[in-house]
Every structure is written in C-alpha cells, then in structure tokens.
Assembly symmetry: C2
Homo-oligomer: 385 residues x 2
C-alpha cells in the first residue's frame, strides 16, 4: 500500500490536541485525513483534509464516519466501540482494535486484565456502584486511605480521588468504580511501546512523571527518568509484557509506579499518543505521533532514542481564571534557550484545563530540569479579564 | 502584542512547501494565518485558517490581501512589491520589507548591491537584453566560459546556465540578465541569518551544498559544513555583513562560494526560509520556520545550534516521468534509522520538480552522509504509469 500523496484516507476519532499534533506528521507524509469531533472549535478543525462534527459515543455517527475512510485510528479512547467492532467485521482496519479498546475503556476491566495476565498492579476492589464503598468500609473489607477511580471516562485528573476520610467520599459519582490500595511509591514512570500488525515492537526510554499535588495532573515529564539501570530494565520488560497482552496496534503508553522497594506496578495504559511522550517532538529521533502512524500504516518503526535530554511542562489553566485564554509572560520563556512552547489552540481556559505544553531540551538533564522549574514559575495561563 | 490564541492574523504570500512547513509552527503557536497562492492545489491550502486563490504578481490581489491581515510575510520573493510598498505606507508591517525585496528580486540589482556595499561577489556584467551578450563576446569584453543568469524569476534551477560555447547560448530568453565569471570553487556554502526589527541577529551554522551536476539543483545540504574553522568564521562574518546591509526582518539565507584559495564570494540571497535550512527541522534547537516567525513577530530569537549532524537530500522528480506522483521504495528508506522524509503534497511530478526532501540525522556526520547517499540511490519520485 502506498499511502503517500494517494487517495488513501485515514480517519481519526477525536480532534483535540493529540490529533492536532498527529496531523503535523500526516501532513509531512501527505496522508489524507478525515477527523470527527463533537466540537466545532476542535484544535484539529484545520490541518485535516475533512472535518466532521459528530458525537464520538454515538453508534451511527462513528459507523458512518468509518464508512468514509480506509483505516481508522483514535486520539481519545472514549468512542463507541460497538461501531468499531461492526466496522472491523465489515473489513475496515481499526487500530487500536475494538478488542484492545474494550479492555482499556473501563478501568475496572483494565485492572482485571492485569490480574488475569499476571501483570503486577496495585491491589484493588471493584464496585458496581459507589454506594457499595460505604458498605465495604463499614464491613472493614476496605479501609482508609485508598484511591477512588471511576471505571469510565477519566480525563484531565477527573475520575481519580484520594480518599482519606468519610468526608472525602462526598460528591463521588454513584457509578461503577474501583478502590485501589494506596501504594507509597518513589516515582511514577511511563514507557511508550509502538507495535505494528506483525507484532514488531519499539520501546521508548523510561520517563519519570512528577505530579501536581492538588490537581492530580502530570506537572513534569522527564526523559530519561533519573533512576537506576536495573529499574529501567524492569520497567521496560513489564511494558513489553503489557504490550504483548493487549496485542495493540499503534502506540501503548504504559504508566507505572516504582514502589519504595523498587517493584514496578502497572497503573494504567492509553492505546494512543500520550502526554508522557510529548517530549519526543523535540528530543527523539522519531516523535511519538510519527511512530503511531508508522505502526498503524505498517511502515517500519522508527528509532526511539533521544538526541538530547527533555523535560515537558504541562500548561494548564490557572486557578481562578475562566474565559478567553491569554498566555502571560510567554515571551520570557521563549527567550530561554531550548524552550519550546506548544499552544493547543483552545480559546477558553478553565482551572487545570490542558491548554498546551512546553518542552525544554538541553544536552544536560540537570540544566533542563532547572529551566523547566523556571518555565513553570514564569508562564501563566490566565484569561483576558 | 500577544499573538498566541488571539485574533491577530498573519498573512503569507505564497502557498508552496515553504509556507506549508511554516504553518506547522504557526499551528504550534496557534497563530491565525491567511495564505494567498495562485494554485487551488497549493500545499498550504489546508492548515492555514483561510486560503485565498490569487496572483502574487497582481497589484490589486496583493493589496487587497494585505488589507485583511495584521502583518505580512512571504514564502516566495516573486510578489508584487509595489503593492507591498503601498501597504507599508498605510501602516502594515511587511517583513521582509518592499525595500529588501526590491534589492533581491532582480539578480542584476542584487549583484550591484553587493558591489555598492563592498561585499565580495564574483565579477559580472549586466545586460539589459540577452542579445547584448553576443555583441560583448564579439567585442571580446566577455569570453567563454561564463554563467548566464536571468535577472528575474529564477527557481528550481531555471534561469541559470553555464555557457561554454556559442551553441550554449541557443534558447536563452531575450531578457535582462547577467554574465558572471566562472569561479573555480571548492565548496558552495550557505548561512541563514535571522534578524528582528530591533536589529538583533542569530546565525545558523555554515552548511555545505552539493549540487546535482546536470539539474543545477542542490542535491545534499550538509550541516555542519566539513570545512576549516577559519573558513567557517569568514563565511559567518560575511553573512552578517550581508544581513546588515539588507536590514531585512526575518530570515536571510546567504549562499556563498568558497574559492580554491579560501576566499568567500556571495552568490545570492533569499529573504525567507530556505532549502539550505530544512535540515534544522530535525537537527536544530530552533528550526528555521519557527525562527522566521520569532523574528517577524518580535519574539526572542531561538538557539541556532544543532543537536545532531544533519544531511538533507532533495527529492526531485525523476527524469522521464510526468504525472500522478509515486514515491517508489520510500518504505525502504524509512527502515533506516534517523531518516525523515517530508512529502510536500504536490500531486503531479515533473523532471527535477521539488517534490519533497529527506533529512538524515546521526550523532556522526560520516554515518549521516553515507546514509544520505543510500537514500538518494533508493527512493525515486516517479509517476504512476
């Protein structure tokens, strides 16, 4: 199949920032794209060849979209999987497959999948309704503290909460969820694995994630992780095991905990380009978006090594601001060497909304990490008034 | 001025591959763009916010276009400069300015500008009509061999010819031209200088260009140039002198000859992103397109150092093929590490037409250069039948 400058059409479900960055590489290869997103203001609206406004959870919308394209991928996993399955039955290649997505969309199913496949993960209990948590606490089959996770549709730090007391349970939605043991960990790590239809794999370096204590969002992604070589090996082997179990096609971002005694526990996965791989645009031989395309199109996988150290800082909406976005002091960070802002093009900011990211690259990791802290202190995502 | 995610509109004259690559960076910064190009098939048609089909040499088309935008730049220098001048008079920032463009558009004027500014260049004679060349040859004020250059609109190797005998003169267009002394040179070099409104400058490393012997097109661009440090210094100083003389805003690509006795002679300049800077997308801290934006928008200039060695190979249409383009054996080159193809998205190939480029990056220059030769031998730009 010759994709380049041909009539082949790649369909992308979701038109957010991940899709937007994926479109840089479809453009670079001159691959025709059709994007569907519910928002008329989606960052992908330009740069794709055709944009369709539609509900990603609606069977008919996703099915009709799939009939227009030659291959289908996603930039968000919350899509109608039944429609994908029907499209697959009718012969459309869908990467990641409906089977992979079903195992990931629901966090309870995802956790059970790790148990079934002998993949280390934090102990957990599944609850069909949040109300069952109270019963379990009263029965003492569950105890404080624990991590509550909604089984479906977590995003941008929503759907996850640390529960230390009864009062923390207030306002928890009454839906399927899991309660996970709180693991005291040294580091949160991630590994992105690319896998093609034939099962060839390529693994990116282990990255280290520093979380914002309140927002439950990644604040810094550091590549390579500043951890022992033995732990690097262990994390990569486990990521490959997870990749093999899912039999995904395309990228799989595997998030993990490094415990205090250097065990690796899988936290969760995403079968697509991921926030933990944004650094690769500037720091890697092959960025994660190009790699995803290579994997789903059956092209040779690219080199995953880094050329320089990279630290990514997420740009999220400042607390107390909602409205027309403004990037305060962006010029100041642009005056620093090796500092690369990415603005996603969302017009409205809200507290903790992902509005962009900045990648800092340097030959020296310490220098990059120090600069990242200055970037974080300097640029503010606020609103006009 | 806060450009990011605002209503500010950047106008770009020309919608070819340079504009297309520039749009990756306007998208990354969420800067709104309006592009004008005569072709409805222009590579820029998607990825800009608004596309207008129009003749770049037409006064009214360019003037009306300028009235729609807040700042105007170009990706090709053959535009109606009178319209730009009127727009400037009415207060529109135009970078590069009409004054810079007037000194560059006409190659005879450009050469005289070097002489006036004491910038070393190959000796030349200006002819108002090509027919005057014959008279000069008969008078013996001109002798074979020499380089004929059309004063206006050279592109893709057109408008330049080496004249060794009377028969080489056949078919030379009857227009204003120059006859330049043939300089035996060791290397062709180029330096890209970025300059902002305040006169701040940033210089990219000296690159080396290897030309295709028949097509008169650059075949490889090698960064950094494999030349003595003393020559590097000399080339950079001369590039800065040229930059200062033009008082351009944005990029200026300065092409130079390194003579057999290590003199530097300026060949020609381009006041915009340039083929000799494409390697920077993969190999530099700040790529040339982002740097052009930084310069024209008054943002701080970025770091111009390389992170790795880079060799760029132009992908031009194979001789003997015209029609619907096909990139033969592209998968093979993509299987090589550090090989990055860029497909411009032109649907029709013609012999020697620039259809794309490939950048090869490696920690080691020799390895990159060897790989580039394999890339060149492997991928072929042909047509479907």
């Amino acid at each position: 199949m010759n994709y380049f400058s041909s009539d082949f059409k790649l369909g992308i479900l979701g038109g957010g920032q991940l899709g937007k960055m994926l479109l840089y590489d479809t453009r670079r290869f001159d691959i025709q794209t059709v994007v569907m997103d519910p928002s008329a203001e989606a960052p992908c609206k330009i740069a794709c060849n055709e944009f369709i406004q539609g509900d990603l959870m609606d069977f008919d919308a996703v099915y009709q979209f799939g009939k227009k394209v030659d291959l289908l991928t996603i930039e968000i996993e919350n899509v109608n999987v039944d429609a994908l399955e029907k499209l697959e039955d009718e012969g459309l290649p869908v990467y990641p497959s409906s089977a992979t997505l079903r195992r990931i969309q629901n966090k309870a199913v995802q956790k059970l999948f790790y148990t079934d496949n002998n993949i280390p993960t934090a102990p957990f209990t599944r609850f069909a309704y949040a109300a069952e948590i109270e019963t379990a606490l009263k029965n003492e089959s569950l105890s404080f503290p624990f991590v509550w996770k909604s089984a479906r549709f977590g995003y941008d730090g929503q759907g996850v909460k640390i529960i230390k007391t009864w009062s923390d349970l207030e306002g928890i939605p009454a839906q399927e969820c899991i309660a996970e043991e709180m693991i005291p960990f040294k580091n949160e790590l991630a590994v992105i694995v690319a896998r093609d239809v034939k099962g060839n794999v390529a693994t990116y370096p282990v990255v280290e994630m520093e979380f914002h204590p309140e927002a439950n969002q990644v604040e810094y992604v550091i590549c390579p992780a500043r951890i022992d070589k033995e732990v690097v090996k262990k994390a990569q082997l486990i990521a490959l095991k997870v990749s093999k179990a899912y039999e995904h096609v395309g990228l799989l971002a595997v998030e993990m905990f490094q415990t205090k005694d250097d065990k690796i526990l899988v936290n969760e996965v995403a079968p697509r380009p991921h926030n933990s791989g944004h650094y690769s645009i500037e720091a890697s031989y092959t960025n994660q978006f190009e790699q995803h395309l290579r994997a789903i199109l059956g092209l040779p996988l690219g080199k995953t090594d880094s050329t320089v150290a990279g630290v990514m800082v997420n740009l999220v909406g400042e607390e107390g601001y909602e409205g027309q976005v403004k990037y305060e002091r962006i010029e100041e960070i642009m005056a620093m060497e090796g500092v690369n802002p990415h603005i996603y093009g969302k017009k409205i900011t809200r507290p903790f909304r992902k509005m962009g990211h900045v990648t800092i690259v340097d030959e020296n990791m310490d220098a990059a990490r120090k600069k990242a802290a200055i970037v974080k202190r300097t640029i503010k995502v606020i609103s006009e008034k």
